[in-house]
């Protein structure tokens, strides 16, 4: 036998990390891998797995189809058994004997035909990597199971030297690491900063300066906890939490693809908001969304929740084959489920066994089979639909139904429907004809009231169930053997009674079973990421081998075990995090800290994170006093520039702006059209929601500046803010400027800031005094004429008032564009 690993033919792309390090870009002291705490000797998880995964596993890993070298089944380096397999008198790895390990020979070979990885697949391993592998093999080449697949256990709290800093267990983990690194935590943020941070983080809305002042003056030792409790029960809480979940659920108000027709599914959005407001335990939240229809005595709400997976796209383009796009939707449901709950990218296994994780294509279709028996089938009418009672519709129906009921009560014959093509039933006396016509009219009017519906999941009856077959290369027309419902073998298997089918309900219960090693870790990590801007696992979308290791593994596990122990109580975890000393720290880093831990992964200071697109809009409207607090109902149309375009094969994409308070609703209620997302939000990194989005990027671009400077919605907010400055502060310019700053930033203004704002006000005022039409435009377009109470501040002098308000609008516009405004402090 040829003494060789067959050459790796596929062009494995090297990890981006490698380029960065190779390019000498990595200057900071926390290099890759070292975010994870260093210890003696190479650790498989920390030091070795990444090398194998990035450099070897693509060709010597779980994917049997594409595995190279070695014996009959190809060489596997992702398992101990595979790596140490006798290849005919030699082995890739001989534990304890690096010199006898063919792997070391090959990675250090200078012959281009022999060296691993092959030159076309990547650069040779660095001397440091070779050294790590050598030392690891010398020490016995111990493989460890992938950290995220290990059952969650509750770690002990680490000992810390500084006894008086920690407020709860979270802080013990953070502080222990800081002490190891010789770093000090930062002081607690001041109360105004903390108030704004907590309010934005928990409700997505700014806190009023008055509420912040009251909090600042609260001498209670539990002042923070009390504020947190108020915010967790604030009506804005559920809406804010729902935003993140709706990214995962790919919730949108249109069906997608070319014509992208409107889709009525807002009842699901409202369900999510209600669930968060009620702090529904996460296990119930999970089960209802994946399988609410299969619950015994499923309630209306349980069924609405299943719209989670009806947010997949429907292709209504002419000439499409419904079955093709039904299968696309089922594939999306598999991927979205695994990503959302388990941080596991299953999508690759649609076409082939996973390259890096022990997930097979057959297992992909095992989950596919679980989702393959719902009644929906890429139909234009989105069937099956569930009718949802909604008060405005009921209010229209009630008087008509009442009248009809009265008629029937008085004349029971009217219960009978009128025969088609005839004025009345044959036997009916002619004198009843006017009454019958009236009843017919009522019935017609009732039928014309369109009910609110929501697309839902319903399971096909046994006789109509589909047989799932493996799809070669993910091609829905190229079918292989029948695949039964299964969950991947690498995870603990679901507990099923004898003969019980592994259906969606069983799958959902398996996801939130305490034995599932991933769900709780993934969920607490996401809660952490929302608050700190980056997760304990930075790749919150990927907990597999190709993801990053946790910065604080024990903390992650402690939080995960706490989530399960609390009965999946999300708010209890959030409360723990936001009341921790870690979270409360000032976000102002020292120069030394900036240099030593620029990413703030060690959390020696508090978080400072750019707000989401939704919060940026809501905050501006709230500061302006314009934001509506109305909850729920159909999505609305805030001002949006006309583009004069139609969707392909579809309708115009321009919309008629909503009137009244619907113009000023929270961003979560803005109609989300996939083919043309609301421009202001898309510019601030909101996704189009065609697919599950786990983590939004946070960019910083000139187009964002144009939105918040010039978008009429933000100009209107600046006008509203200007009016509040005049109404709510004393007559001095400094008072008004200070009020404006506090309405946006909450904290007290600094003198230098007031100087600059007042300077701008005077410059602007001079300009507007010389140009009354410009003043009128900037003070009132689009917000509307100045009301009398405002004019009274100027003794009724409309010209003066208009110029003054225009000048304050310029100031308001600047306040809404401060860097600090966009950041959670």
């Amino acid at each position: 036998m040829v003494h060789s690993f067959a050459s790796c033919r596929s062009a494995a792309t090297r990890s981006r990390w490698w380029y960065l390090v190779g390019a000498g870009v990595s200057l900071c002291w926390i290099a890759h891998g070292q975010v994870v705490k260093a210890a003696d000797g190479p650790s498989f998880t920390r030091d070795i797995k990444g090398i194998l995964s990035n450099r070897c596993i693509r060709c010597h890993g779980p994917d049997a189809e594409d595995r190279h070298g070695g014996g009959e089944h190809g060489l596997r380096l992702d398992t101990f058994a595979g790596a140490t397999e006798d290849l005919g008198g030699y082995a890739a790895i001989v534990p304890g004997d690096p010199e006898a390990s063919e792997l070391l020979v090959r990675i250090t070979d200078t012959d281009a035909d022999l060296v691993m990885p092959p030159p076309e697949a990547g650069d040779p391993l660095s001397p440091h990597e070779v050294d790590l592998l050598r030392r690891w093999i010398t020490a016995g080449a111990e493989y460890e199971p992938h950290w995220a697949y290990v059952p969650i256990s509750r770690p002990n709290l680490p000992a810390v030297a500084q006894k008086d800093w920690a407020r709860n267990p979270i802080d013990r983990f953070i502080l222990a690491r800081l002490e190891d690194e010789g770093l000090q935590p930062s002081p607690e943020a001041d109360r105004a900063t903390l108030a704004r941070r907590l309010a934005l983080d928990l409700t997505g809305l700014p806190i009023s300066p008055e509420a912040a002042d009251a909090f600042g003056a609260d001498p209670s030792p539990n002042a923070v906890e009390q504020l947190v409790d108020r915010l967790l029960t604030h009506p804005g809480y559920g809406e804010h939490m729902a935003r993140g979940w709706l990214d995962l659920a790919r919730y949108a108000d249109s069906a997608g693809y070319a014509d992208d027709p409107p889709r009525t599914i807002w009842a699901y959005r409202d369900w999510v908001i209600r669930a968060f407001d009620a702090n529904m335990p996460f296990d119930a939240f999970t089960i209802k969304q994946l399988a609410g229809d299969l619950l015994p005595e499923a309630s209306l709400d349980d069924k609405i929740a299943t719209a989670f997976h009806r947010n997949t796209l429907t292709n209504n383009e002419g000439g499409t084959i419904d079955e093709e796009f039904r299968t696309v939707a089922v594939v999306d449901r598999v991927s979205t489920t695994l990503s959302t709950w388990m941080g596991t990218t299953m999508a690759c296994a649609q076409c082939h066994d996973h390259k890096y994780d022990p997930l097979t294509q057959k297992e992909f279709f095992g989950i596919y089979a679980i989702f393959n028996n719902t009644a929906d089938a890429d139909r234009r009418d989105e069937a099956p639909l569930l009718t949802v009672p909604w008060e405005p519709v009921e209010a229209k129906r009630r008087p008509l139904e009442k009248q009809l009921a009265e008629i029937i009560k008085a004349v029971p014959e009217m219960q009978r429907a009128t025969p088609k093509q005839q004025p009345q039933p044959a036997a009916e006396p002619p004198e009843l004809r006017p009454l019958r016509e009236h009843a017919d009219q009522l019935r017609k009017r009732l039928a014309a009231i369109r009910p609110v519906t929501v697309p839902v999941m319903t399971e096909l009856q046994a006789a109509k169930q589909r047989v799932t077959k493996l799809q070669y290369r993910g091609n829905w027309q190229d079918l292989g053997p029948v695949v039964e419902e299964t969950t991947p073998a690498v995870f603990p298997q679901p507990a099923l009674a004898d003969g019980q089918r592994l259906d969606r309900l069983a799958l959902a219960r398996w996801l939130v079973s305490p034995a599932n090693p991933l769900t709780a870790r993934v969920i607490v990590n996401r809660l952490w990421e929302r608050l700190f801007g980056i997760g304990i696992v930075s790749t919150s979308e990927e907990f597999g081998s190709q993801g990053e290791l946790p910065s604080h593994p024990a903390l992650l596990d402690w939080l995960a075990s706490e989530l399960i122990a609390s009965g999946w109580d999300l708010q209890s975890i959030q409360r723990l995090i936001v009341t921790s000393a870690t979270y409360r720290q000032s976000s102002k880093p020292t120069a030394d800290l900036l240099a030593r831990d620029p990413e703030n992964r060690l959390l020696a200071c508090g978080p400072r994170v750019r707000l989401s697109a939704e919060v940026i809009r809501d905050q501006a409207l709230a500061a302006a006093g314009l934001l509506s607090s109305k909850k729920g109902g159909p999505s609305v149309h805030p001002p949006q520039p006309d583009l004069g375009l139609k969707a392909a094969f579809g309708q115009g994409i321009d919309w008629k702006t909503s009137t009244g308070e619907d113009r000023y609703r929270r961003a979560i209620y803005t109609t989300w059209r996939r083919s043309n997302p609301y421009p202001a939000m898309a510019t601030f990194d909101a996704p189009n929601r065609e697919v599950c989005t786990i983590r939004r990027p946070r960019t910083n671009t000139p187009l964002q500046a144009l939105v918040t400077l010039n978008d009429p919605a933000f100009v209107e907010a600046a006008q509203g803010l200007a009016r509040r400055m005049v109404r709510e502060a004393g007559p001095a310019a400094r008072q008004r400027a200070g009020r404006g700053l506090r309405l946006v930033l909450v904290r007290q203004p600094r003198a230098a800031e007031l100087d600059r704002l007042v300077g701008l006000y005077h410059d602007s005022l001079a300009a507007f005094r010389a140009d009354p039409p410009a003043a009128k435009a900037l003070a009132t377009d689009p917000l509307g004429p100045l009301p009398d109470d405002l004019l009274n501040h100027y003794g009724g002098d409309a010209t003066h008032a208009t110029a003054d308000l225009a000048a304050w609008t310029v100031v308001g516009n600047v306040l809404l564009n401060l860097d600090e405004t966009f950041m959670c402090p």
């Binding site: 792309t13 990890s15 981006r16 380029y19 390019a23 870009v25 990595s26 200057l27 900071c28 693809y257 070319a258 292709n315 383009e317 499409t320 990218t345 980056i534 979308e541 990927e542 081998s545 990053e548 102002k588 880093p589 120069a591 900036l594 240099a595 620029p598 990413e599 750019r610 520039p641 006309d642 583009l643 139609k646 969707a647 392909a648 996939r674 997302p677 421009p679 510019t683 189009n688 065609e690 697919v691 960019t699 910083n700 671009t701 000139p702 187009l703 400077l709 010039n710 100009v715 600059r756 701008l760 410009a774 003043a775 435009a777 900037l778 377009d781 310029v810 600047v814 860097d819 950041m823």
Partner: protein, 486 residues
């Protein structure tokens, strides 16, 4: 980007900023925030200035690109691929083997062969045969690189268009233009790096996803520019605020942000200050570049462009203006090429003559104009639809007076010009009836690999780590078609 790579970039910047004596000064910003690319095979954009110019992986043949997308897909057999045998057998049943086992969007049963009704001419020294629907392109035939052997996997518009521009028929991947601007940055910071221009009043089939950034940072998504209203959304100051007052207010904003930067020392604040200055410059440069009334009468006539109007002709002229100003990628979408024959505008006779006239003249003018300005040699132009059209009459309209063709993925034609493609080349061929590729097949992924190659990238190495995998435009496919290159 991998969040840690993201963090790393921030870290690098912070490190540099933090090490500066005397804190943060806006003066040195440009130097500090330039991309770090030294020696890297894959470009690493700087987060502070993600559109900063970055070198490609190897010497490129093209530095910028213009795509003319004919939304709906033009009938290749009536424009670029003459099939006399098909005309000879016009009206006959399709041979069974040509349609066996195939699904079509709007046709079932046995359709009738449909020969072209166009007149054809061998053009230029290359003898490239083109139809009479595109007489102006005859003039530039020797500059075109015509591929007659394209094929795709999709026959519905939206998935097919996504495949052409994102490498996948499903939503969620970055588009060609966003990959290119991610890889190369843009040469004019005062304009968007990736501009989209839409004519004939309808969005692309894939909506904004056809020019979206997928999982790349949203800074790489195509920015739609328009002839009417704001040329870029929100680029105009609100009514009542002139440029002078905007400057005054930005000065105040910058001063306040500087206070903040000094207070917190957060590099992102410095970045934001720079973004507002860029936005201010864009407010002047975007309306300037979008104003075609500055062009000579002769140029306007050559394109058939009308200042104040909205047309493919205007957009072709704008494309030239934009690339001339350093925009990296200009993507034109023109609706109305879905020649089913369901109405007179979709008839391959007069309907095609009319529609093609709106495209042929400006497309030819664009090539000549680019050449005259010395831009053609390093500007790559691609003209394509989502797929081809059938050699038979579309099922729904087979009994009508209209002549139309159904969607067809198995073979079709595209052309390129400029930056590194062989001028006057006719590449590949279909069989005598136009049902399948007879020689030199080019799949969409091959075309993408070739385009990226021309721009200086190994398509297997222009990657982005997302969900644990290094994604690329060509997924796991694609071979560069070297025969197309000069």
């Amino acid at each position: 980007m991998n969040p840690l790579a993201e963090q790393k970039l921030i870290a690098t910047r912070r490190h540099l900023l933090g090490s500066m004596a005397g804190g943060i000064g806006a003066v040195a910003l440009a130097d500090l925030l330039a991309g770090d690319t030294a020696g890297a095979t894959t470009p690493v954009p700087s987060l502070a200035d993600p559109l900063a110019v970055r070198p490609p992986q190897f010497a490129p043949r093209a530095k910028r690109m213009i795509v003319i997308h004919l939304t709906g897909s033009p009938p290749n057999l009536d424009l670029y691929d003459h099939k006399p045998e098909l005309l000879r057998r016009d009206g006959e049943d399709c041979p069974a083997e040509t349609i066996a086992g195939k699904k079509f969007a709007f046709t079932s049963g046995t359709p009738k062969l449909l020969g072209t009704r166009r007149q054809w001419k061998r053009c230029g020294e290359s003898g490239m045969e083109l139809s009479d629907a595109i007489p102006h392109l005859h003039r530039v035939a020797d500059k075109l690189c015509l591929v007659r052997s394209m094929h795709t996997d999709q026959f519905n518009h939206a998935p097919a268009e996504l495949l052409v521009y994102t490498g996948s028929p499903r939503a969620g991947r970055p588009s060609l233009g966003s990959w290119v601007t991610y890889g190369l940055g843009s040469e004019n910071a005062n304009l968007p790096g990736f501009v989209v221009l839409i004519s004939s009043g309808v969005q692309p089939n894939g909506g904004t996803s056809s020019f979206g950034s997928g999982f790349l940072p949203s800074v790489y998504q195509g920015v739609q520019c328009r002839s009417n209203g704001d040329p870029v959304l929100f680029v105009s100051n609100p009514p009542g605020m002139d440029r002078q007052l905007r400057r005054t207010s930005l000065d105040a904003l910058n001063d306040l942000n500087q206070l903040q930067a000094r207070e917190l020392g957060n590099p992102e604040t410095v970045t934001r200050i720079a973004q507002y200055e860029l936005a201010y410059r864009m407010q002047a440069s975007v309306p300037d570049v979008m104003d075609i009334s500055r062009e000579s009468k002769q140029t306007l006539e050559a394109y058939g462009a009308t200042p104040g109007g909205s047309s493919l002709a205007n957009n072709c002229l704008l494309a030239r203006r934009l690339v001339e100003e350093g925009v990296r990628f200009v993507h034109l979408f023109d609706w109305g090429w879905d020649f089913h024959g369901t109405n007179p505008n979709e008839d391959i006779r007069d309907g095609l003559t009319k529609k093609a006239a709106s495209f042929d003249k400006p497309a030819a003018a664009l090539i000549e104009d680019l050449e005259q300005r010395g831009l053609l040699e390093d500007t790559l132009v691609l003209c394509t639809g989502e797929f081809g059209r059938t050699p038979f009459r579309e099922g729904r309209t087979s009994k009508s007076k209209m002549l139309g063709r159904d969607h067809y993925p198995d073979c079709y034609s595209v052309w390129m010009a400029g930056g590194g493609v062989k001028p006057g080349l006719i590449y590949g061929a279909t069989d005598e009836l136009g049902f399948k590729v007879a020689e030199n097949p080019v799949h969409i992924h091959d075309l993408q690999a070739t385009l990226l190659h021309l721009l200086g990238f190994d398509h297997t190495k222009l990657t982005y780590r997302f969900q644990g995998r290094d994604f690329r435009l060509t997924d796991v496919h694609g071979e560069v078609v070297h025969d197309l290159l000069t």
